[in-house]
Symmetry: C2
Subunit: 340 residues, 2 copies
């Protein structure tokens, strides 16, 4: 599939979805749309990702394109009307449009009419299927070993670590697939359910449904976790994923230096060792799990030596191997997972 | 408010909502509709509840009525067409209709048209408000002490214990109110949000919103818990309520003799002492809480002496005072709560 990614005025610093797609998706990215960075290339801004030209608008994207992906999500999740000409042009060229915005493109009168006229799909990935149901408690019955990424907080790297683990497991010869639960993961995998948008009674059931769909075709499933079990607002989602996935192994994702819940600064993060107990003890009555490794995000640290030191400290607190899989590599995580 | 309660062919054994309303609501119940039990009275079937005649249909209910309440919920939550004449008659008499069914009366063409014609409300209590939002983590800021009922499983008595506690606290001179989170509680209180139907990201936020609305007007708020923190399907809802409510105290509800999750018999209940740790430890990073008491449902035990014995054993395992507030009385629970 050949795609274009819309990231106006936000690439690369505030374009998490665009970067996730450039790093991990199997799409052939024809161009990134960013009117501020037009004329540069992806490789001028980030390493370790597919390169592509950055252009001003859809009109400058050459050749046939299968889909335009909205690769940014402003606070509030609204659609910015300055993007309208690009979406209009994409539909006119017969492209599907993928969006993770709260504003549903399929409910936009102009886009809905245009999409019908040009016979293209508008895929609002935040809209869960309407036939979800309660969990039956059977995710553990699949053949695959289930690995779940969990976090000390939101935005601690769970999506990135999930994708890195799937890549690294496959590179090491283990057949692994991701179970995407958030908008970026879903766009990367071209598949998935946005777990934070399901009806709360069906949260665990939605995860279970995805695992049953893929679980007998792979040796490992890596489930993308959400939120944190100690988050004042989002812990319900985290808990539903923990129990619905019936994970055999969990990997704790943490950002070095973070001391309080992001956006909820009155809530201090508990010690790392307490997270181990909280996640393992809460999982156990449904399915025994083990914290096998940790992934530390050290992007805020300047030098590798300091990063190595804080990774060591984190591993000590965790009582398990740890690494920053982006700064260093994912091998220690793969070893920890596959030796179980 | 003067109401009639529809409970055809299900009163009293399978009419949990009807009985909850007769026991705890402040409505004046003019009649219960049950074509099988017509001619008897509520007091012929259950004690400790408001008495009312049981009649065949809405036509036999005398005098002005403000609302007809659907007091039963068949498996699947469907509307039974044999109830249609009663609902039609009620709307024709200017009554509002309250329903906790999955089938929304407001989306039934005949009822919607009739309701508009007669200017009455069709209130589908399972339909949450559409302006819910994420929790801000501020429920603890209200003046009231927050007490949350939690369970070892579903259907362990959380709604009943919540209502008993509110009554008993008020009788003891403490101004208390319920925070209803499920359909029966909402119908009893004529107010509330069905937490299991909210979008999962907003689960904690919905509880917080209710607490902020009532929290400065009462000395105690008793939050109706849902599910169980170890339930394979519903734990997300439980976790969202635990963190969203920021409860100061929790009361554990358990049914004597239950050894596995109801409907999920492969999942054994952990020991009672483990529930204490699970709930307290999970709550603590958001808001410290204490398991102050237990409520044991002993309805399956024949004699009071055996019931007293298992209550004692339960209290021992819990490390806190316990009682069956329906079989015996709620005083020990009130004492445990108010001496904190």
């Amino acid at each position: 599939m050949r795609v274009a990614i819309l990231a106006h005025e936000k690439f690369p610093g505030r374009a998490k979805t665009a970067i996730g797609i450039l790093r991990y998706a199997e799409y052939d990215v024809a161009a990134v749309l960013d009117r501020d960075a037009a004329g540069t290339r992806v490789r001028d801004h980030i390493a370790d990702a597919q390169d592509a030209p950055i252009v001003e608008s859809m009109d400058e994207v050459e050749g046939p394109i299968d889909a335009l992906i909205i690769g940014i999500s402003p606070i509030g999740g609204d659609f910015d009307d300055s993007w309208r000409p690009d979406v209009r042009a994409a539909i006119g060229r017969g492209c599907d449009v993928y969006s993770g915005l709260h504003y549903f493109l399929s409910e936009d009168e102009e886009f809905a009419a245009l999409a019908e006229e040009h016979d293209v799909d508008l895929w609002d990935v935040r809209d869960p299927p309407d036939d979800l149901d309660v969990s039956k408690g059977v995710a553990a019955d699949v053949d695959a070993e289930i690995v779940l990424t969990v976090g000390t907080d939101c935005a601690s790297g769970k999506m990135t670590v999930t994708m890195e683990l799937v890549e690294a497991l496959n590179e090491a010869g283990h057949d692994a697939a991701a179970i995407p639960t958030g908008q970026t993961g879903i766009m990367i995998e071209d598949w998935g359910i946005p777990i934070d948008r399901t009806i709360s009674d069906f949260t665990a059931g939605a995860v279970e449904r995805m695992i049953l769909e893929k679980g007998d075709d792979h040796a490992y499933l890596v489930v993308e976790g959400q939120g944190s079990i100690v988050h004042p607002a989002y812990s319900a989602v985290t808990c539903g994923i923990l129990h619905g996935s019936m994970a055999d192994q969990i990997v704790l994702c943490h950002e070095a230096g973070r001391e309080a819940i992001h956006g909820y600064e009155d809530f201090e993060l508990p010690p790392i060792s307490e997270y181990v107990d909280l996640y393992e003890d809460l999982a156990a009555p449904v399915h025994e799990t083990e914290m096998v490794a940790g992934a530390l995000n050290t992007r805020e640290l300047d030098d590798d030596e300091t990063a190595r030191e804080v990774v060591e400290e984190f591993a000590g607190d965790l009582g398990a191997p740890a690494i920053d899989p982006i700064r260093f590599d994912s091998k220690p995580l793969v070893e920890a997972i596959t030796e179980q």
